[in-house]
Amino acid sequence: MQQARQSAPSKRPGVRRPAAARSQAHTAAAPARGIPQGSPAPTRAPNPAKPVKPVKQAKPKVKRRKKVKDPNRIKLLSFHSRVDVPMLLLVMVLLVFGITMMFSAGHALSYRDNKGDSFYYVTRQLTAAGLGLVGMFFLTFFDYRFLRYEFRVLGGKRRITATHLVVAASMLLNLLTIPFGIAAEGGQKRWLPIPGFGQFQPSDMLKIAVIVYFAYYIHKHSDKMRKFYDGIWIPGLMLVLMILSMISQTHLSCMVIICLVFVAMLFVGGSNLKYLLPICVLVALAAVFAVMVLDVGYFKERILFMDPLSEPGDRSYQNYQSALAIGSGGLWGKGFGNSSQKYYYLPEAPNDFVYAVLVEEFGLVGGLVVILLFLIFVFRGFYIARKSEDKFGCLLATGITFQIGLQAFLNLGVNLCCIPNTGISMPFFSYGGTALMFQLWEMGLLLSVSKRAKLS
């Protein structure tokens, strides 16, 4: 392998290096980007056992030249270049830790609410994780650029991409909740029934769709991004359209996350700050007005009763219980499985408040480990984005990383009572099959990007 890497550049002397200053090591890694390897043949598998190397050289060379294609050689699934192993490990650690903690936090509630089945939630979560992992590995070895490959439909009249299909499908599914959605207690129709399987939350899919779409959009219009019309107006309209599709769900936290991811992507994608900043400020002011004056989504109350001690038994009940759980964790925690608050004190122990249970069981140390894990995740994700030479890949990685990181830290904030309680779930940790599955698929896309990124 080492030999192959070293020999590759010599085989393609005409290739221009991205930067002259690049180190030798970096140059050596270049072929790992999934570009078809010219001919791995003679140099790739040198057999030291064979003493007569030059004699036999001529014959296989001819044969291999036939097999080795030109640089335009086609590859749909590539197994040659390396996935970013730290990222893969990080994802697996988060997944295993997450499901374990979800089980610890949720088995009591599962027992109570599912006729004595302590494993009900964890079984479903594991099923979702299985589906998610299969999708993740498929996507990892799938060339993400297919998402922006334009092909002609309707007899060649229109050119669309897979991204358009993803967006259309997710919007359609979201719209389907209007007639078919399963209403929750508050009247929000957030789930679609899947006969014989369970429920499906289309808003999780929309998050991916938003990321993929704007990555594609910015990539396509990268030269026009600094203009108002192409850089702000059109994407903004698209965003509003997409968000409108989940109108029946009244899923405020999801909308906020989508908007924030959108802003972050525009920002990184190169929107003109001259337009972006004032608009953001305006929207933020409008949001504050809506919250404080019009009292949309009862947000005012959530802000007012954010302090766990403001009304412990009543309106800040969840925050109070969360604070009790986290506070009684101490430095090292009570030990795995020893949380008391999960026994029906924390109303959403396996969902929004896994972190509280985690801190109760593993203390400050456990809590910091989780913060660190997510920080490392964000750093690595952004690093992948940075090193991706493809703008689409860069924005995809940025969007995905930002979305996961944002959700994680917002959830931590809610658990620690420094953010109004909005029902943001924690990636990989919170109970929710659809969310977990799509998160893993996103990880597949991220890893796919990592394969093509020039990571050191």
Binding site: A19, F146, I326, G329, S340, L375, A385, G413, L416
Partner: protein, 809 residues
């Protein structure tokens, strides 16, 4: 190859080709990413926010950790009390007098029931659907639906016999999740409830039993004033239960456990449990059998002599101070202490109701009466000891050698003390008499003289030495402090009155202890009820030793006093306390309750002055073992002297109980001759043999029918096995005589023993003379076991009780 690829029109192949081309293009030109700096901005925001979150985490877990942990514990931790079992109380023979048993409170959890009622209804609806689907034509009809709460309420009220209204009200109110349906339910009922819950598929969240304990007194009212009882919380409030509460109660344990959000305990290994220590048990010196005899006879006394202010009795082991029996009559049922038992008290309440007194007044009065019936008269009430106290005066003077057994006194019928005339009970006086006679006659002027001989200083010293100035220290609560004239304030009249026991007011237990000291050789002992204290495993924790406070009088004086007291009982042909075969010594007393009499306007229910009749006795006088003091407060019958009212109780208790205590009679030859004999069976015997056999057994024989020849006895009266006095006549029926001779019982009440004997023999009956004073010249019949005019078979035995009631005190 390339051609083939290009010709392929599949989407993915075209993409692959496009991708390859892109790769090639990318390789050609530098990648245009741009705006990497903006990524750093976002990263910085994320890092900043994570630092904020991390700080909050630190604040919650470590900086404010203690506060949150405290609040969490307050929310999660519950403590439950593990009740210690209260110790038992045993009598000297190990009979249980008081014990605790586990019982249960039945709790109806109304909130839980309300929550469960939905599921219950659904369950019924499912059953109904199944029933409707069932095509079997013979299917049993489904019972109509009944709400869960109704099922529970009806079931519980039926099993426990309580009114369903309370439960219904609680269920509607939904205020608590805890309604006590019934307290202190026994095991069988709890079992029934458990079965009921299982049968109806009701969760134990809705109805459950909570363990608690109940104090149970197997003997009901026996020794109730001594034992006392516990209150609602299980603390002893009266008697031994109160005095030894610290020992009996034990130490409750505590269990700390975590609960879940629904208040149920979470299984945890680290619960803190401090187990309970059961209470100690008491073994009393009290003898259940003797106590029973004492109570029985006191009750008889109270009803016979209409004792309106209750009677009490103490039996003490005079050497150790151990109380063998202590009773107050009427007593009350320990298992139901609030019920008023005294007929006089009930009459009083009835009277108040008739007079139209308000309910509060009646309730108040009822409370007072209840308090009074719970009191132990022997310890908590004062009385004038009267003539019984003369023993103290006498022994003090003997100890000081101011008098001896032969000193003579003159009684003119009164004594002039500093200008005040104090009368003797016998107004014409006793004339010249020895000390023994003065004691027997209970002559007041003699004892005034003895008191004057002693002087105030010595009298007061002995008064104190005999323990009358301080509580005896008996292990019972509420011992009353005596009232007396101290030396500093004593005048000659006080001395005179005191020496005959009329000034000071003392408790019966003080008097009893003093009598003990007089007869036991002069040692003043501390009376006590508890012999041993056992821990919950039956090991002896503490043994109460005999406590001798001091030597009051010498052994010699005590011996003299024993002789005097024994002579009182034996003199004049026998006292009411006399029992053949026993050496009994005693002294009666009849104290005037002048204050009470005046307070009641001289109309306190009786035709005479209000008195307290007492009698103190000891047995056997050669080596005194026990001392008994019986006190009847305000008898309202025709008799009021101590020897008439209190003495029969002493006599009866001795007769019943001395053998139980291991004190057996030793008869003199004279007594032996007067003893009763058992009639042998002679039915079927030849007359000749029957006659000789009965004669040999000291019986007279009278034949009815022709006894000659070989006639056989066909019947005998009294029947074989009857115990009758020797010399009685046995009537034998001979041959085919069918008719039995009948006679009418004569009225012998008020007759002397010889008159009564004659009357009964003449009527064809046999007489059995009862009562220690039967041979006393003053004795008259006070009771006969068959009423006058009743027809009986001739030869039957009529028991007649004689008493010498004209004894003065």
């Amino acid at each position: 190859m390339d051609k083939k690829t290009n010709n392929n029109t599949g989407l993915f192949w075209r993409f692959a080709a496009w991708a390859a081309k892109k790769d090639a293009e990318d390789a050609e030109k530098p990648p245009v990413i741009g705006y990497r700096g903006r990524q750093i901005v976002i990263l910085a925001i994320v890092v900043g926010f994570s630092a904020f979150v991390g700080y909050n985490l630190l604040k919650f877990t470590v900086l404010d950790g203690d506060m949150w942990r405290q609040q969490a514990n307050r929310q999660q931790m519950r403590e439950s009390t593990i009740m210690a079992n209260r110790g038992a109380i045993y009598d000297a023979n190990g009979t249980v007098l008081a014990q605790s048993s586990t019982v249960w409170n039945i709790i109806f959890a109304e909130e839980a029931t309300y929550r469960a009622s939905k599921a219950y209804r659904e369950n019924y609806e499912n059953k109904q659907l199944k029933w409707l689907d069932d095509k079997d034509p013979n299917k049993e009809p489904l019972p109509p639906f009944k709400e869960l709460s109704e099922v529970i309420i009806d079931g519980l009220s039926e099993i426990l016999g309580v009114s369903p209204d309370g439960m219904r009200k609680a269920y509607i109110a939904q205020e608590h999740n805890y309604y006590i349906v019934k307290r202190k339910v026994e095991k069988p009922e709890v079992k029934l409830i458990e079965q009921f819950l299982i049968d109806n598929g009701i969760s134990s969240d809705c109805v459950y039993a909570e363990q608690t304990s109940k104090r149970y007194y197997p003997n009901g009212s026996l020794a109730s004033n001594v034992i006392g009882f516990t209150n609602f919380d299980g603390d002893g409030v009266y008697g031994l239960e109160a005095y030894y509460d610290e020992y009996l109660r034990g130490t409750d344990g505590k269990a700390f456990y975590r609960t879940d959000g629904e208040g149920k305990a979470v299984e945890y290994g680290n619960d803190d449990v401090f187990s309970a220590t059961d209470g100690h048990s008491l073994v009393l010196t009290l003898d259940e059998v003797l106590q029973h005899y004492l109570e029985k006879n006191l009750e008889l006394c109270v009803s016979q002599h209409s004792v309106i202010n209750r009677a009490c009795g103490i039996i003490m082991d005079c050497n150790t101070g151990g109380v063998l029996a202590m009773a107050t009559t009427p007593s009350y049922d320990l298992n139901n202490p609030s019920e008023i038992t005294s007929v006089y008290d009930l009459d009083l309440l009835e009277q108040m109701k008739k007079e139209g007194k308000s309910e509060e007044e009646i309730a108040e009065q009822e409370g007072i009466l209840r308090e009074r019936q719970w009191k132990n008269k022997a310890v908590t009430e004062l009385y004038n000891p009267g003539s019984v106290f003369k023993t103290v005066t006498c022994s003090s003077a003997l100890e000081e050698e101011l008098i001896n057994i032969n000193t003579t006194f003159n009684c003119p019928g009164y004594a002039d003390v500093a200008g005040t005339e104090i009368h003797c009970w016998r107004e014409w006086g006793h004339g010249e008499q020895t000390l023994q006679q003065a004691m027997t006659n209970s002559c007041n002027p003699c004892f005034i003289a003895i008191g004057q001989m002693l002087g105030m200083q010595k009298f007061s010293n002995y008064f104190e030495a005999f323990g009358f100035t301080e509580p005896t220290g008996i292990d019972l609560p509420g011992e009353e402090q005596s009232i007396y004239v101290p030396y500093s304030r004593m005048g000659p009249v006080d001395l005179a009155m005191s020496s005959m026991g009329q000034t000071h007011k003392i408790t019966p237990i003080q008097m009893c202890t003093a009598i003990c000291a007089i007869v036991n050789g002069g040692k003043l002992v501390t009376p006590h009820l508890v012999d041993k204290i056992l821990d919950c495993n039956g090991n002896v924790v503490e043994t109460k030793e005999t406590q001798i406070k001091r030597q009051v009088i010498s052994e010699e004086t005590s011996k003299t006093m024993r002789g005097i007291l024994e002579t009182i009982v034996n003199e004049n042909g026998g006292h009411n306390a006399y029992i053949a075969g026993y050496r009994i010594g005693g002294k009666s007393g009849t104290a005037e309750k002048i204050e009470d009499y005046e307070k009641a306007g001289g109309l306190a229910g009786g035709a005479h002055m209000t008195y307290i009749s007492t009698f103190a006795a000891s047995v056997p006088m050669d080596d005194p073992q026990i001392v008994i003091l019986v006190l009847a407060d305000t008898p309202t019958g025709p008799e009021y002297y101590g020897s008439a009212v209190a003495c029969p109780v002493v006599s009866a208790v001795f007769k019943d109980g001395l053998e139980h205590l291991g004190i057996y009679p030793t008869y003199t030859a004279e007594e032996q001759a007067k003893m009763d004999a058992t009639v042998p069976n002679v039915i079927g015997d030849m007359t000749m043999y029957a006659q000789s056999y009965l004669t040999a057994n000291n019986f007279e024989v009278r034949f009815v029918g022709d006894p000659t020849g070989d006639a056989q006895v066909v019947d005998q009266i009294p029947a074989s096995g009857s115990v009758i006095p020797r010399g009685s006549t046995v009537v034998l029926y001979v041959g085919d005589v069918k008719e039995r001779e009948m006679g009418e019982v004569p009225d012998v009440i008020g007759k002397s023993s010889s008159e009564a004997n004659e009357l009964i023999i003449n009527a064809g009956f046999n007489i059995k003379i009862l009562g220690g004073a039967a041979e006393n010249v003053n004795a008259v019949a006070t009771m006969q076991n068959y009423d006058p005019g009743v027809t009986l078979y001739k030869g039957s035995v009529i028991e007649v009780t004689f008493q010498a009631n004209s004894f003065g005190d």
